[in-house]
């Protein structure tokens, strides 16, 4: 069994008000180290066995059409054994 991980982030030029709000909350807890915070999404897709090239191509397609909106987001696909 493998887990295919798709991580989705807003493009750097797109304002992320949720990340900004989280970033503003950190100092209130006494954590003053953060210069900025951006919030994203993580999808874990479980499959049987190790992914084939065809499956990886499908995941790529799914990421670009459904999991992420390429107009405002970028994504990275990785595989966990």
């Amino acid at each position: 069994m493998a887990i295919i991980v798709v991580e989705v982030m807003l493009k750097p030029e797109i304002l992320d008000p949720q990340g900004v709000a989280v970033g503003a909350a950190l100092p209130r807890l006494g954590f003053t180290f953060a210069k900025s915070v951006r919030q994203g999404k993580r999808f874990e897709i479980e499959i049987e066995g190790t992914p084939t090239a065809a499956q990886m191509a499908d995941i790529e397609k799914a990421a670009a059409t459904l999991l992420a909106n390429p107009v405002i987001e970028t994504y990275v696909v990785t595989v966990q054994a």
């Binding site: 030029e13 304002l15 992320d16 107009v71």
Partner: protein, 222 residues
Amino acid sequence: MKVGVITFPGTLDDRDALRAASVAGTTAISLWHDQADLKGVDAVILPGGFSYGDYLRCGAISRFAPVMTKVIDAANGGMPLLGICNGFQVLCEAHLLPGALTRNKDLHFLCRDQKLVIENNATAWTTDYTKDQEIVIPLKNGEGSFQCDDKTLAQLEGEGRIVARYVGENPNGSRNLIAGITNERGNIVGLMPHPEHAIETLTGPSTDGLGFFTSVLKAMVK
């Protein structure tokens, strides 16, 4: 002349959109997301709400609903199509309109009467307005900030495809105060504020929204 209004799971404003279409003099037909059948309608409205609970991204899952394949084909063939609020988000996710709608700049869900200026009165949905007419209709959304890249923005501005702009302070961080846009052909319009809530003074701030629904009647008769 028949106007179809699509109901997805989580749609809220289908009733008001159906009523607005009938008050404007069209025959309003309810369409269901799960049936790939437009029931012979001449125009379609994607109403506001929280289709599929806004899961993943607003409009991202609705875009793949069975009825949408028919809607996309018909709209590409010139059928008038209006997306209001969540409907606008669906149109962007379906790439029928450029850009995307993101979280309001201050994270608040806004619900208020909003002044707009109609800049393009040549679309299928706006011919009953005069150019640069100011109208007041409700704005109510949490993810209404219109975003696109610089090239798309320049194209929208250059081609006169900004249908409506917010007047006064920017309510949500939308680029260039954009409240609504159209495609090149002018048959598809996406609008964040809600004209269907402003067709009668009993329940709305004005009757300024009715023009969208009377305009499409004229577009269909033509």
